[in-house]
Amino acid sequence: MSVAIVKRWIPLIITFVIGFVVTLDFFFFAPKTAAHDAVSLLKATVDVIVAPSALIGVVTLVRHHGRNITKRGKGWAFSSITILALAFYGLIGIYSALSTTEFNNLVLPHPAFAWYYDNVYAHLDAAIFSLLAFFIASAAYRAFKMRTAEAAVLLVVGSLVMLGRAPIGGVIWPGFTTIQSWFMNVTNVAGFRAILIGVALGAVSLALRQLIGVERGYLGPGA
């Protein structure tokens, strides 16, 4: 079989057939019909596709950071921590799956996994995100300057919305709450609606191009 058939035509046919059938289902197949149920089954196979993609993610991560460690590249110590953490999390998962027949060997509800999630992962994730408060304050001080008229408008509106969203705004002056509500419900909605309609039209156009095989970037180079 030639390379073009394997790398281009087979993926394009799969994309077209599945995309066409799922689109048909969305618009035309009624619930509780055999056709709709068949497409539901097809969509449920996404679980099978997602599982190997996690494995590919692990391989890519290990290769990337492994190379950085062997070359003693920038931040190689952090790469080591990443691989150790990955291995540790993996071991907890394997231990959780093998150590009990409870929960049908599922990993997520196992106490060991839950302990690690609650006491390590949750705190690390929350701590990193909470640093945003400090960065935003520092950035507001240094970067939020009235250099142009547009920046001045952004600054004034941003400050009014911040005051209106917090209870203290209403205590200082009840009008802050009303002004904030107007900005969120009128100007924000108008702007976002325009963006969303534009994005939706772009997405439809891209989807159609992929469906009929004009856009092939997702197949990788040479396809």
């Binding site: 289902d25 619930p31 509780k32 709709h36 149920d37 497409v39 539901s40 089954l41 969509k43 449920a44 996404v46 679980d47 596709i49 997602v50 599982a51 409870e102 929960f103 049908n104 060997n105 599922l106 997520l108 509800p109 839950a114 999630y117 609650d118 992962y121 949750a122 705190h123 994730d125 929350a126 990193i128 995100f129 408060a133 400090f134 935003i136 304050a137 520092s138 507001a140 001080y141 240094r142 939020f144 300057k145 009235m146 250099r147 400050s159 911040m162 005051l163 969203r165 917090a166 209870p167 203290i168 705004g169 209403g170 205590v171 709450t177 509500s181 969120m184 909605v189 976002f192 969303l196």
Partner: protein, 283 residues
């Protein structure tokens, strides 16, 4: 002087933020919390549901957004239980499954899922389905056929052994779909795959940063209500308080208020410094 102020060490700013945000957590001020109309709309829609309705709560966030979303997720579940509604907990983010279980333990007790309501089609009945992979496609699949998408709950129990699940087979069986969201997939995808094709009412509790994007859907009637960030959660807690829910966000909202004021003060001082430097340079 203004130039010096403009070039202030960022560590000074960090310390000021730390002090001003921490103080109200220990010594709450008790600022009043007015309730926004999006919050009232969410509350009223849940109140108006028939008592046998099934509410699907989707925990689409991780620990980074938990301080903002977990309080409303817990209060929301408590509200549903207080009204005798049936709750089904799902998540389309892998990180959401333990948070859903934690919320259920807060509302139903630490013995969860070993509680009488678990899996039962009774007032306050509950099932925790857990993580459904596939992102938006997983959500679409869940809407069209719940049982084909995932046949067991979070604890490995087959749906056939959970009487409540016999009433939850596809999106048309959902009373409402509530998405606690911190990104994609979230309530916007639920509108696409549940509200659009099946007419399911979708509501959301979103991180504050996601609210501007969600607002057009609310004004168009595609979202029945929005709990907007920590403020929305605090407002909702004050409404659910009528059922005995103890508000948890009074002190955090004071901290947020002072944090917002501090940032605005920083912006003003930073701009005064910038203007003074510009004047000095003859700009």
């Amino acid at each position: 002087m203004w130039e010096k102020i403009e070039r202030v060490d960022r560590r000074v700013i960090y310390i000021l933020v730390l002090i001003l945000v921490s103080l109200p957590l220990w010594f709450p001020i008790g600022l009043p919390i007015p309730v926004a109309k999006e919050t009232t709309a969410y509350f009223n829609t849940i109140e108006a549901l028939p008592s046998t309705s099934v509410v699907i709560f989707s925990y689409d966030y991780g620990p980074s957004a938990a301080p903002e979303l977990q309080p409303m997720a817990e209060a929301g579940l408590f509200h549903a239980k207080s009204l005798g509604l049936r709750s089904v907990l799902v998540c389309f983010w892998a990180t959401g499954a333990p948070l859903a279980v934690n919320a259920a333990k807060k509302v139903y007790g630490d013995a969860f899922p070993n509680v009488p309501e678990y899996g039962q089609d009774v007032a306050g009945g509950i099932v925790a389905i857990g993580f459904i992979p596939g992102g938006a496609i997983g959500m679409s699949s869940f809407a069209s056929d719940v049982w084909a998408t995932i046949g067991v709950d979070h604890f490995g129990t087959a749906f056939t052994a959970l009487p409540l699940m016999s009433r939850v087979r596809r999106a048309t069986d959902f009373g409402v779909f509530v998405d606690w969201m911190a990104g994609t997939p979230g309530a916007i995808q639920a509108i696409m795959y549940m509200h659009g094709p099946y007419g399911v009412k979708v509501g959301t509790g979103s991180t504050a940063v996601g609210v501007p994007e969600a607002m057009p859907y609310y004004t168009a009637g595609q979202l029945f209500g929005i709990l907007a960030g920590l403020a929305g959660a605090a407002e909702y807690e004050s409404l659910v308080h009528a059922y005995g829910w103890a508000p948890t966000l009074l002190a955090p909202m004071d901290a947020q208020s002072l944090g917002h004021v501090l940032i605005i003060i920083f912006v003003v001082i930073g701009n005064l410094g910038y203007a003074a430097s510009k004047l000095k340079r003859g700009g």
